[in-house]
């Protein structure tokens, strides 16, 4: 995992703090599967006329930015907040493990932040089995986060089974979007 640091000037940090950005916590639901986005500043603008760079690292900040801003920024490494699964599977695809590690780091750095892990399935098969399957998916995420040090008290698992689809079609494209765990941050 490449460590991306966002360098911001003190002035802009203050500006953001003053703006008190509202925090839309839930991710846009019509999203297609998003690849982990590369984040940060390109090498050329890293030192664009900025003499001083302050990077706060304490609680309330993530990678130098206030957490509201880190959570709200669609370019942030935290923006991938939906993880997808195969049919009748509760295993997180290996390619997504790195994106989840970012959330573990975020939660470890901010022990007062909690996250709801909301498990979902596609519409196929039995509703009650799917309710259990959605829980297994959310528990997979919970287990992986906890293996990376996230406290149990920071996480809450909820399953909605197939009752809350984000895509309404009756075909694989829609099913793939519905087989998911959503990370919902709240309570700050």
């Amino acid at each position: 995992m490449k460590r991306n640091l966002v360098v911001v000037s003190l002035a802009s940090v203050l500006l953001m703090a003053l703006q008190g950005c509202s925090t839309p916590v839930r991710e846009e639901q019509q999203d297609v599967i998003v690849d982990e986005r590369s984040v940060g500043v390109s090498p050329t603008d890293g030192s664009l006329g900025v003499e001083t760079s302050v990077i706060p690292v304490g609680e309330g900040f993530f990678e130098g930015r206030p957490i509201e801003e880190a959570l709200a920024d669609p370019e942030s490494v935290l923006s991938k907040r939906v993880f997808y699964f195969d049919f009748d599977s509760a295993e997180l695809p290996a390619a997504d493990q790195a994106a989840l590690e970012v959330h573990a780091r975020f939660l470890n750095a901010n022990p007062r932040i909690s996250v709801v892990l909301e498990g979902h399935t596609d519409e196929r098969g039995s509703r009650e089995y799917n309710l259990a399957l959605g829980e297994r998916r959310a528990q997979t995420i919970e287990r992986l986060l906890s293996l990376q040090g996230v406290a149990g008290a920071q996480m809450q698992v909820i399953s909605f089974g197939e009752e809350r689809p984000v895509a309404l079609g009756h075909h694989e494209d829609a099913w793939a979007l519905n087989r998911r765990v959503e990370l919902l941050y709240s309570g700050y």
């Binding site: 098969g125 509703r127 009650e128 089995y129 259990a132 809350r164």
Partner: protein, 436 residues
């Protein structure tokens, strides 16, 4: 030719029902005819037109829906007798009728209606049944179902299930929100009554054997919890709200226990709650998914869905009291997805959701011969529920991107659809027999 026209009339009768000014939001369409159905004539009852619910039309539709009868279309009746002394059996024999129902209605003092009906064997020219009953006008529809039950039982030897109820969930998009409604209707889809409305999901209605209470799953507090509700009074109570999922309620046949799925110990496991003490006993113990238990009619075992073998399959767990007795036994072997098992009322067969690739269909497993038979063909079917007499299975399906309820006779030959005028309809639960 004869068969074709009969079938057409049955279809037309179905269309006429749709045109009737019913407040109900479920409408029956008969989507398949059946060979070998018994020919019967149901003559309009004297004075029945005075009332909103035409008794002979309701009996006609019920019998046609069962797939066991081929009622003669009412405008092809050669005569309209309403008294036994007006009967000319030869005329009915000439039309190929085996049986005949006639009747009459009379207003009584106090607002009641006296309904008399008689069932005749046309070939032998004898009366098989005759009843005289007084009911208030708003009970005429129920009475028509009860008469249908009497005719059905006299002629098939099996108890009728027309005077029963169906519960189901309707989901509608209202502006930006989805509304979930738990509804109860007559088994023919009429008299729909919404008994619970919520912005959060509602699931898994399960009838108590007294036919008066429903257990179900509601997400009204943000996660799945089990509630019980008296249908008539609306009185309700939370039965299970532990951490994790609380779901899949299933009443024991004696009504003293409720099986359910709880994941409070980390994994979804089957528990049985004693309804008197509310004590829980844990039935399954595995690291896999164990859920959606259903009782055998003798109350001595449960069938449940488990993926302990990798994929969801059906297992049977013997019980002693409310405790597990011996290890569970796998029941389903064909295909890689079998879930939501439901015993037939005689305990000999198991209805289930059978998945093959992307197709999920209703199948029936004969527990003795181990033969699996597919009953449906569309590929998006789920939630099978037996009629209390075992004659039909109601289930949820998908037509034109909408959730609908359908029913199929247990022999797989007669199909019918209960279409909603709006919304998605799902999770039907057929009630037990209901007392008078």
């Amino acid at each position: 030719m004869m068969k074709q026209t009969t079938f057409l009339w049955v279809l037309l009768a179905g269309l006429l029902m749709i045109a009737l000014p019913a407040q109900a939001r479920l409408v029956i369409e008969i989507s398949g005819g059946v060979e070998g159905a018994m020919p019967i004539a149901i003559v309009p009852f004297a004075s029945e037109r005075v009332y909103d619910d035409r008794i002979s039309t309701i009996i006609h539709a019920n019998l046609a829906r069962s797939g066991r009868f081929a009622p003669l279309a009412q405008d092809r009746l050669p005569a309209a007798p309403t008294q036994a002394d007006q009967l000319d059996f030869a005329r009915w024999r000439a039309l190929g009728m085996d049986h005949l129902v006639i009747g009459r209605m009379q207003p009584q003092a106090g607002g009641q209606v006296l309904v008399q009906f008689q069932l005749f064997d046309v070939l032998r020219g004898v009366q098989l049944a005759g009843y005289s009953l007084a009911v208030p006008p708003n009970r005429l529809r129920k009475l028509a179902h009860q008469i249908s039950d009497i005719v059905y039982e006299k002629l098939t030897g099996e108890k009728g299930a027309f005077d029963t109820l169906v519960s189901y969930v309707v989901v509608e998009q209202v502006n930006d929100a989805r509304m979930f409604r738990l509804a109860v209707a007559d088994a023919d889809g009429h008299n729909e009554q919404v008994i619970l409305s919520s912005r959060e999901p509602l699931m898994s209605p399960s009838w108590a054997p007294d036919g008066r209470r429903l257990a179900y799953v509601s997400f009204e507090e943000g996660r799945s919890q089990i509630f019980m509700q008296n249908v008539a009074t609306g009185q309700r109570e939370k039965l299970a709200g532990f951490s994790g999922i609380n779901s899949a309620p299933a009443w024991s046949p004696d009504g003293r226990s409720l099986a359910m799925t709880l994941s409070r110990d980390g994994h979804p496991e089957i528990y049985i709650m004693d309804m008197a003490s509310r004590q829980l006993s844990r039935i399954t113990n595995s690291r896999s998914i164990d859920t959606e238990a259903s009782w055998a009619p003798d109350g001595q075992s449960l069938v449940f869905t488990s993926n302990r073998g990798g994929r969801p399959q059906l297992y049977q767990q013997a019980l002693q009291g409310n405790r597990p007795h011996g290890p569970p036994r796998r029941l389903s072997f064909e295909g890689n997805y079998n879930a939501r098992g439901r015993f037939s009322p005689d305990g000999r067969q198991l209805a289930m959701v059978h998945g093959e690739g992307n197709r999920f269909r209703i199948a029936l497993l004969d527990l003795e011969s181990r033969q699996l038979r597919l009953l449906t063909d569309a590929g998006m079917e789920e939630s099978p529920s037996f009629a209390p007499n075992g004659s039909m299975i109601i289930y949820a399906s998908e037509r034109h991107n909408r959730g609908v309820l359908e029913a199929v006779s247990a022999d797989g030959r007669a199909h019918q659809r209960l279409g909603a005028s709006r919304g998605d309809v799902r999770e039907p639960a057929w009630s037990p027999f209901i007392g008078p």
